[in-house]
Symmetry: C3
Subunit: 215 residues, 3 copies
């Protein structure tokens, strides 16, 4: 194994997740013709807002992203890369989606663990894991004056919720922590990739207006 | 009286307010064609975001909604009911509005009391009571990429502000607390119902563009 | 000097900044035909949300705006003035812009100083100074369902960031604090006024869609 130390591995994965989330944010910013500053803000917000919201809610202030400059630096680097080479990155759809699913898995698992560590009710901790994973993307969409994509279409948040729930269940029932975390992350990642591959969607309600609901 | 215990009564009312606010959120989600997950998120946000914002601002973290799973469960139940039987609930306009006004009254009063308990200046505590009542609906509208309805049309927030102000005045001048809370809630509820009944609106400013302001 | 006391001068400047930011918020509300309540909410949010967000993130709760009623009162006064005399204020473009730049400078400098006082990493404190300056306007635009103007066009946030960075650099290298604060504020103010005067903009990325990027 290339890393001698578990902590370093987690940090590297965490920064990788930050980088990929920031890429997605920056790309949305470029598409909407924001200026250089706007693109950087979207990078930063998309990569960090989920964790920041979790930290504010559980009382872990200042949030992690304000205690270690490497998260902000990583997010801004992703924004800069996107700003300079948008057309190149735009073509990398498949790897970006894969890394995004990995980032989601990682953030969901880490978020649930941190919520438990701060004494959040185990019935509610999975929600905070999910929020860690999806909050940044939601705020990105709000800043772009769009309805958050996660509310209307893809099977994304549920994957995060299930991954986070596995971690919480493991903590409740005293499963060994590292394998549980890995299992939660893998389940989230695989669910998300399957949802992309097979175009899975959640149902919509029938509002009684217009025809029957679209799938 | 059916409840032997004041605490239980307050809890039941609080959960009832949560349920009705969540109904309103879920209905907005169905109307905008969100998927099942999106509808549940709107239920949860509409029912809890006002109280969560208040708790974060006054330093009461983790917020109440993250300390008792019954609030989240109630909100999600309302979302599920709406998802399954939207057309039925959509026809219950009058009772839903009545319960919504009751929820507003309850949240405004409880929010002002909690703000005072955390040492907020009595001149500002009514604002936090109002925020408790209207914050969830505002975030619901933001998530739907709309201007919050409470900013543009109905007499809604003012009713909450007045109800909350009554509670704060009572605390300042040492009125007995239970009757004061009831008075604040009743005034808020009645004002809101009258505003619906007689179609009361606040004035708009004249921007000097187009004709005179609409009432 | 008209004020014998530095503290009073800072308070007066702070309230002046609050007033001008609230004016800008209220004017946006009138333009979008909000009602009287909506205009007051926009005043309050535009004037205080940046500082409130900073305080929540650094753990300074309740936020300053909830500890001293004069900020809220000042913001609401600005909202009332705008509501009553919108057409007059609308014609005062130049002085309003100048005061807005002054408010930005003041908020950025004060925000960076407060972040440092709460132990935020000096590499990240300038971001919190900037957030103090631009957060209120961003939330105003979100409430109006617009993409925040600061993300897409003018050179505004960068001026705040540079002003805040000067303050942080001064604290790191033990420059005398009052002259450093003044230098940071002046640089921010002058940059912002030059950006208005010469119509400076940041570049946009080329999304590869449509023609080359607009300047």
């Amino acid at each position: 194994m290339i890393f001698g130390d578990w902590t370093i591995l987690v940090l590297v994965l965490d920064l990788a997740g930050t980088f990929v989330f920031a890429l997605a944010g920056a790309m949305a910013g470029v598409r909407r013709e924001l200026d250089f500053f706007g693109v950087l803000v979207l990078s930063l917000v998309t990569a960090t807002a989920g964790g920041v919201a979790r930290d504010v809610l559980i009382g872990a202030v200042p949030p992690a992203a304000l205690q270690d400059w490497r998260y902000v630096a990583t997010a801004l680097a992703a924004g800069l890369v996107t700003f300079l080479w948008y057309p190149v990155i735009d073509r990398l759809t498949t790897p970006v989606r894969m890394f995004d699913a990995a980032g989601l898995a990682l953030f969901a698992v880490a978020g649930a663990e941190k919520a438990l560590a701060y004494g959040i009710d185990p019935l509610l901790a999975p929600l905070l894991g999910m929020l860690t994973g999806i909050g940044g993307g939601m705020l990105r969409d709000i800043l772009l004056a769009d309805i958050p994509a996660v509310l209307r279409s893809e099977l994304y948040a549920i994957a995060a919720l299930i991954g986070a729930a596995i971690v919480v269940a493991g903590a409740e029932w005293h499963w060994p922590s590292a394998p549980t975390a890995i299992a939660g992350a893998v389940v989230c990642f695989v669910l998300r990739m399957l949802a992309i591959r097979y175009d899975w969607h959640l149902p919509r309600a029938w509002s009684g207006r217009g025809g029957p609901p679209k799938a």
